[in-house]
Subunit: 192 residues, 2 copies
Amino acid sequence: MAGRQKIYNEDAALNAAIDVFWQQGYEKASSRDLQKAMGIGFSSFYLAYKGGKQELFAKSMQRFFTLYPQPFLNLLKTVDNPVEAIRQYYYVMTEPNGKFSQFGCYFSNTIFQADENEFKEAAVKNLVVIADAFYDALLRAKNAGTINPTIPTELWKTYLLNLWTGLNTTKSIEKDQSILRATIDFSLKVFG
Amino acid sequence: MAGRQKIYNEDAALNAAIDVFWQQGYEKASSRDLQKAMGIGFSSFYLAYKGGKQELFAKSMQRFFTLYPQPFLNLLKTVDNPVEAIRQYYYVMTEPNGKFSQFGCYFSNTIFQADENEFKEAAVKNLVVIADAFYDALLRAKNAGTINPTIPTELWKTYLLNLWTGLNTTKSIEKDQSILRATIDFSLKVFG
DNA sequence: CTCAAACTGTATCGATTGATACATTATTAT
DNA sequence: ATAATAATGTATCAATCGATACAGTTTGAG
C-alpha cells in the first residue's frame, strides 16, 4: 500500500458529522456544511464516503448509537433500580445546555424528517433496541420484586417510547425544567 | 374595480396548500409543488401571496387551526366528560388511513422542522391554546365532581401535550393500533 | 369603445443543492 | 529513481430552489 497520508482524523471527522446531522437533520445538513465541520475537502469527502451524504449519514447514525445509548444500555444491565436509571436518562432531555435538549433525539428527529427510506427504518430499529433493553431491565426488576408496576407489561415499550419521543417536542413548548422533570417523574410512577 | 376574474377558488387553493405543507413540511414543500396542488400559476401565486411561501404557510397554519382543532375545542366546552372527548381526539392519531396518522400533527411537525423562526413560535402558541382548552374543560369536570384526577393540576398541560406529541412519533414505531389505543387509554386514566 | 385594473402563462433569474472532473501533491514498494 | 497508489484543492456540473420579469388576456368603469 502506497499513497499520501490522510491529513484529517477519521474518527474526529465522523464525530463532527454527527453533530451537524444531529443539529440540522439529514436534508438540511448540506455537503458543504459537513465538509467544513469535518475539516475535509470535497475530494477527500467523496473518496472516504463514496456513497456521499447517504453513506455518511448511515455511518453517523451507527456511531451515534455507539457513543450515546450503548453505554447506557450496558449500564442498565447491571443496575438494581432500572426506573431510577431511566429517569436519569430521560432527564438529559431537560438539561438546558445539553446536546439532547438542544438538538433533540437523533433517532426521533430522523423518523420525523426522513421520507419512507432506509434511514427512517434504521432509526426506528435503534429506538426499538433501546425500548427492548428498557423492557428487559424492568422485567428483571419486577421478577426480583424490586418494582411493582401498575402498567400492563404489553404497554411498557410503547409507553416509554411515547414519553421519550414526546419530550423531544414538549421540551420546545414547556421550557420550565422543573415541570418537565415532574412530568417525567409522574409518568414513571406507573413502574412502581 | 376592474380586472379579470380569478380562475381559481381561493379557499380551495388554500386548503390544497394546507395538505401539501401538512404532508411535506415547510421546507420540503416547494413553491412548484404548492402551485401545482393549488391549481394556480406562478404569477397568480405571487400576486395572491406577495410574501411568497412564508405568507402562504402562515395563512395555511391559521386555516388549519380553524378547520381541525377549533371545532373540537368548541365541542369541548359543552361536553360533560372531557376525558372521553380527549380520548377520541387522540384516537385520530391511530386511524390507519387518516391524515393525522399519515401526516402527523401539523403543529408538532412545524415545531420539529422549523428553525427558530416565527413559524415555530406560532405552532407552539397553537398547541398551548389547545392545551389550555383541555385544561379548562378538565378543571370544570373536576370541580363538578365528574372526574377525580390523580395527576397534579400543574402537570396536566405538559402531560397531555407530551402524550399527544409523543404519539406523533410513536405512531411510526408502533404500528399496532390496539397497542397505541391501549397506551392512550392507560395514560388518560390519571384523569380519573 | 377605450383604457386602466386585475389575473394568467411562460421564460428565466441568481443562489444553492449533491456530486464529479482533473490536475497536483505526497507516500511507499520495487 | 521510478512507477504505482492514495489523498488533496479547485473548478464546475446539472438540477432544483424561491422568486421575478414581462407580455398577454380578461374584465368593468367612464
